[in-house]
């Protein structure tokens, strides 16, 4: 997997590159707008992280130009601007996800993986399955080994989020956003408790534990690489 980091702050770029390298990505860097755009336009990357404020050409313009050129590589915007308008503007310009600074690198890695996965999965599937788990997105029924798990709507959405990112870490904030739609950090315990309930229903006593906690990072369905 090749990632392009477009970031003008050296320390941030190095830190990000390091973290993504640890996750198995191969990373290229660009330190300003124009060169970033040139590299991104080659279409050779699986995902791009893009700082909103760049010398030469700002982040939003870069995305707009990329999309205008037909480059659909998923873009994760990183910005110090955190309010609703900026997020909306970023996504509307063609960005796929938005993280505010200061961020933790693991969060960036997890979201990039989610973006890439989303790109790869067929968009119109009505069923998702993983090992002996499968869920029907229309009837909102989840089954393991053909047995109905009787999940509440919230638990279903939680499981759906984990399944869409199977074998990849999903952070607490990603889950919170996907399931409840709010963009703030809800605190460790809250999500943990919901995941625990889900786990109690999904992972029976003599079944393989599919929902796993990765300390300090998040949760994963299966095993993170």
């Amino acid at each position: 997997m090749r990632i392009l980091i477009i970031e003008d702050d050296e320390t941030t770029a190095r830190e990000l590159a390091q973290e993504l390298g640890n996750h198995g990505f191969s990373v290229d860097q660009a330190a300003d707008g124009p060169s970033g755009l040139a590299l991104a336009a080659s279409g050779a990357y699986d995902a791009i992280t893009l700082d909103r404020m760049l010398p030469g050409l700002d982040g939003l313009s870069i995305i707009q130009r990329l999309r205008a050129q037909g480059v659909s590589t998923p873009v994760l915007l990183l910005s110090a601007l955190g309010n609703v308008d900026d997020r909306v503007a970023g996504l509307r310009a063609g960005g796929d996800d938005y993280l505010t600074k200061p961020f933790v690198s693991e969060e960036v890695a997890a979201r990039l993986e989610a973006l890439i996965r989303r790109r790869q999965a067929p968009a119109d599937s009505t069923r998702l399955s993983y090992r002996d788990l499968d869920i029907d997105l229309i009837s909102r029924v989840a089954r393991r080994q053909q047995v109905d798990l009787h999940l509440s709507p919230t638990e279903f959405r939680l499981l759906e989020c984990l399944m869409r990112n199977s074998d990849r870490i999903v952070t607490r904030t990603m889950l919170f956003e996907a399931v409840w739609g709010y963009h703030f950090d809800p605190g460790t315990n809250l999500i943990e408790v919901h995941v625990r309930r889900l786990r109690r229903k999904v992972d029976g006593p003599d079944q393989e534990a599919l929902i796993n906690t990765v300390r300090g990072a998040g949760y994963v369905l299966g095993q993170a690489d």
Partner: protein, 458 residues
Amino acid sequence: MSWVRPTDSHRTTLFRLSLLYGLLYSLGTALLLYEVYHYVGRYQEKQADLVTRSNFINIEAQPAPERAALIAQEMMRDRRHINLFGLYDATGHLLAGNLEPLATTLPVQSDDRQPHDVTMAQTAPQPHILYARLLRGRLSDGTLLVTGRNTAAIRELRNVIRLAMLSAAGAILIITLTGMVLSIRPIRRIDSMRQISRDISRGHIDLRLPVSGRRDELDMLAGIINGTLDDMQRLLLDIKSATDHIAHDLRMPLTRLRALLNRARQSEDANSANDLLNSALQETDALMQRFNALLRIAEISSGMRRSGFTDCDLVPMLDALIELYSPLAEEQGINLHGHHAPDQAIIIHGDPQLLFEALSNLLDNAIKFSPAGHIDLFLRQSMDCVELGILDRGPGLREADIGIAVTPFFRADNSGQPGHGLGLSIVKAITDLHGASLHLENRPSPGGLAVTLRFPVG
């Protein structure tokens, strides 16, 4: 307040206006009166000259012996004694008429038969000065005929008009001066405002503009500016106190962090180094959380997020909140009870993201500090406000703490709880942004803390 220098006054609008109006009126009135003076005077003169000339012609037309008689006759007819006649022989001796003997000092020297203005001393009936227009001509028999009119009345009229002009000028001058004097006080007030504003902008933010109590536009302006200054001063103090808090409260974690990293560096055992680094990482995460929270508060307080406002139905939001926190609450043996009128939408104008975050913070706190039992959440709408409340059965707050609980970094004494103490500050910032009020009260029975948010509606 210092006396305004005259040179300052001339720059002000009031002064200029007074002066301008004064000048215009003076000019206009002067022109008008001058016109009257001129034309009326001229008219009367013309009339007088007509009579004078016609008298002359009539008398000259008479045969010489009859002239004196005609003159006597005309004088009898002239009740008002305005017309003047003088028929003189060659030596200057008066033959007929009411003019006095021709002295060489008769002001009209030429016999050009044109009216001229004269001033003469006369002795009959008493010594007096005669003002007249006289016409003089030699007749065919050598006699000198002078006819004329007493112009005293005309002069009188002219005097009256001149007096009127002067009075008018005087009145206008008084009015202008009054206007200028009246404008001095407003000028002084404005000047004082200017001085004080300059001092304020130089840093004396505790100064305020003077309000005269007259409730006029200047007072209104001063009131508005003073209000703005109050807000500004409060904000500056908030910033200062926040900065103080930040410096104070972040020093500890940073010190710990440094210590951990230092020990990790010195450690010879890879495992204990790793543990130390993990602890350091935790401290860093906690710090980042604090910073994030502070940034949030600053951003929310700046009011910029009002642009994200929309209509929010609080009923489903409350339900979602309860549903989100129920598992956590149940693990602590707490039941969450929601109370609101069924089938009713309660809508306020706001930012749903921020509102939910505020409620989350409050409920999170309530759960943290509550013993097993239940927590009530209610939502109700009255005529002028929407109320949302969270009532727990925990220990409540000390009375002394109630006022300061929302200040940044406040932590209740019995909190061995994790957290950064900024939750309530965020809630306060969010409620302020929405124009709502936040109330914290200890409930007398059954005890616990009641947190109420009141949103004004309508």
